[in-house]
Symmetry: C2
Amino acid sequence: MDRTGTYHFATESYLLDFRGRVTLPTIGNYMLHAASRHAASRGFGFSDMSEKHTAWVLSRMAVEMSEYPVMPSEPLTLHTWISDVSRLFTSRCFEWTDAGGRTLGYAHSTWAAIDMATRRPMPLAEDALRVYLTDRHCPVVRPGRIPAIEVSTPGEPYRIRYSDLDINGHFNSIKYMEHLLDMFDIALFEEKEVRRFEIIYLSESRYGMPLTMHMADAGAGRYNMAVCHEGKAICRAAAVWQ
Amino acid sequence: MDRTGTYHFATESYLLDFRGRVTLPTIGNYMLHAASRHAASRGFGFSDMSEKHTAWVLSRMAVEMSEYPVMPSEPLTLHTWISDVSRLFTSRCFEWTDAGGRTLGYAHSTWAAIDMATRRPMPLAEDALRVYLTDRHCPVVRPGRIPAIEVSTPGEPYRIRYSDLDINGHFNSIKYMEHLLDMFDIALFEEKEVRRFEIIYLSESRYGMPLTMHMADAGAGRYNMAVCHEGKAICRAAAVWQ
């Protein structure tokens, strides 16, 4: 079994945004799909984890796209591999290439395993994961510290809906991306593109929890964002537009 | 080329709802995917239409699911075929089967071709479409009349966001489904299931158009819904829960 998993996706017209480009949440969904397949075929996928009453949770992710796929396009290729393993966290990288092998972007993600009942982090099966560790090149700056903008910016109320919930009954990690990007005015999408998006998941949220969404312009195309519950951030993110 | 197109989808854990079931909008997306592939490989897909400055628009759809796929599952199979062709509309049916060939549900959809500049309906290439016409069994009751509930029920305001827009800059047809289903309380999803969902798209909506969303309990598990702009319905739908 190759250490790196390689998956192909076709851009579909109905998944494109108003500019005819693949959206960042769709890119995020494809990455989760690839991560899920890569893990499943190597013995540490959703089902393997469920048997041990554990589940993978995405802790943080940084995506840097130099180019967004447009229609009509050749199939896109997504490569994913494990870049680090420690007691409680494992890192997974991604590289997007077009049909000619040209790189379109990279992503770096950090995952933890939690006990499905207690929702507490569990030690990873380090040895099993290390078998697939590679040092393949992934030039993404890892998610860094994001300022606590919620203390100084007003929040837009948000109510968690059915479609936001994942199989664990929590806010779906890609839906956070979608709702955060939806805070930006459409004019920004017409003129610029998100070159880097990073997100840090701090705690889980459930149906019925009232949330607020915050955004602050940090200058030079960077916006810091937060999703809060009762004033406490459950998710922080930053987008850099160019 | 077969008249019926057959496509396979794997249920992925990250696409499931909090009950571990495939959602109706995901089923809708898979159907658009299959429709898109079926049309493209028979010479009347997105690119073929674009060359003639036309585009397919979904006019109405009725979905009846006797069972929703759960995880872990064998790959799902979706069959799609053309069931009717007239001057301005063509009908496309769908059948979902599991790995054992058992039917999980059916759908019936009606499509029109529009001129991309004027947004007006265009006569269809009837002869080219008729080549693929089949009378395969599709026992779905076609979308019927849905009462104008917006005249008697208050609306919940909705602002169209970036993620709602499709490649034509209009409200994505599957996003309507998602937002309409999100009007239901989570308790209903815990106890019942949508056995039938039908939707009628009346006019296009764009970014910045203020909308209102309406829902009325019609009894016996049926709810009528509407999405309105300035008091006029742009979309009507109905869900039957069992």
